[in-house]
Point group: C2
Chain length 232, copies 2
DNA sequence: GAACGCATAATCGTATACAATACTGTGGTG
DNA sequence: CACCACAGTATTGTATACGATTATGCGTTC
């Protein structure tokens, strides 16, 4: 079962590839909070050994996307209400100021890329692929940190966005799935105008909207089959 | 070589223990940036297998304390000048506001613990153990985030403090090793007065002092023997 | 004498084997 | 009928073995 592995798959490391696949599955809510991630099962699905799978799961555990329970296995994390609040608290500290920096150093190319991303998000939403739309909506925030030229903050934001995806899966009260799009559009305009103040305010408001659109009182777990969610 | 392992050492997981030992060695500058962390060597030192060591190294890599170079091995990270700036940029966003929250919800017990920590830091410094003093000085910042009751932010601050330790090892220009102590004392007083505004300002200034006390222009690597630094 | 190439050794990457622990179902007993 | 004990099964934790890649040292050649 290592015939194709020596082909050329070893550059970005098999473990990272598996981690990325799982991460995306979680982002798109194909894997829902609480789902069991059996080592043997994943190993078989991707045709690698458990060693690789364990490394990937450890990576995701460090991002708090999966929880490693000793002698029990790996599970998609189920952020508590408290953790949900903390995540958005952290985002409130990091993202508005970062949006300001981004606005100030935004280039035309950056703006185009951002605009293209929003359009893709709209397309996904129109196509009914809300999973992908949600994923792209998160990428938007990460991209801003990248444009602000702050790799360290970008890494934090990336982790927080991932965790937000789990939080949304658990606590989202359905209504106005695209209120975000408006917020993102408004941000783009602020960026176009190089208006740091406005970008900061808009981001602050956007995050506030997000957290208030959650129902942070009760819980709602969901099992779901792993092999099915992974597609094959 | 697993006689003592089944004793009762398995609770906090061997990998985490090794990771903690290495982390502390890095914090206290017994392991300096660029040092090679050979898997076999560490495995032998702690009497565990390479499997455990690899897990520990991966953990540290996620915290950016060590750099994993493919087919080359693990090395203590050498933050670039740019990364150094980014780390303090992130701290500037997170810590002042967190200090304010901490001040507002500080209890007498918290204050006592914090005070005790400062005294211990002074004692270490007086005893000439500057490595431990530096470690405790970092713990002070982490403790504040914990008191603010923000576990998520505390985790970020913890990582940033760790990385700051590496940055100090590389870019510190010796002078006024205890200017920090003054800043920490001033913060304690603000906490005692429940003065959130002052705590936020003091923390902002403290971080600014820290970053300006660095020489962010040149580099200075250092090898050093591993087995020696680990003590046994 | 310097530079290149090859053989050797060391180290990492991955797979697999075995041990330890937790889960499941069955049979018995109160 | 409910509950507990126990055996069997499955899954994770750890160690080790093997293959691949990289570093090193020596000998040859120009």
């Amino acid at each position: 079962m290592n015939e194709q592995s020596k082909a050329l798959a070893s550059q970005p490391s098999q473990a990272e590839q598996v981690a990325q696949e799982l991460e995306r599955a979680i982002h798109e809510h194909r894997l829902t909070p609480g789902a069991k991630l059996g080592e043997d099962e994943i190993a078989e699905v991707y045709g690698v050994s458990r060693t690789i799978v364990r490394a990937a799961l450890q990576t995701l555990a460090h991002q708090r996307l999966v929880e490693l329970r000793r002698n029990k296995g790996a599970f998609v994390a189920q952020p508590s209400v408290r953790e949900a609040r903390e995540v958005f608290e952290a985002r409130a500290l990091l993202e508005p100021r970062t949006a300001r920096s981004a606005a100030e150093r935004m280039t035309k190319a950056d703006l185009d890329a951002l605009t293209r991303q929003i359009e893709e998000e709209h397309a996904a939403l129109a196509a009914g692929d809300s999973g992908r739309a949600l994923f792209l909506s998160g990428q938007f925030h990460i991209e801003i940190a990248r444009i602000a030229d702050q790799a360290t903050i970008a890494a934090f934001v990336s982790e927080l966005v991932s965790r937000s995806s789990l939080i949304i899966a658990l606590y989202w009260q359905r209504r106005a799935a695209l209120c975000e799009s408006h917020a993102h559009h408004a941000l783009i305009e602020a960026f176009r105008d190089r208006d740091g103040d406005r970008a900061e305010d808009l981001m602050k408001g956007h995050l506030l909207d997000l957290v208030t659109s959650l129902d942070l009182r009760n819980v709602a777990p969901m099992p779901g089959s792993l092999r099915e969610a992974l597609g094959k």
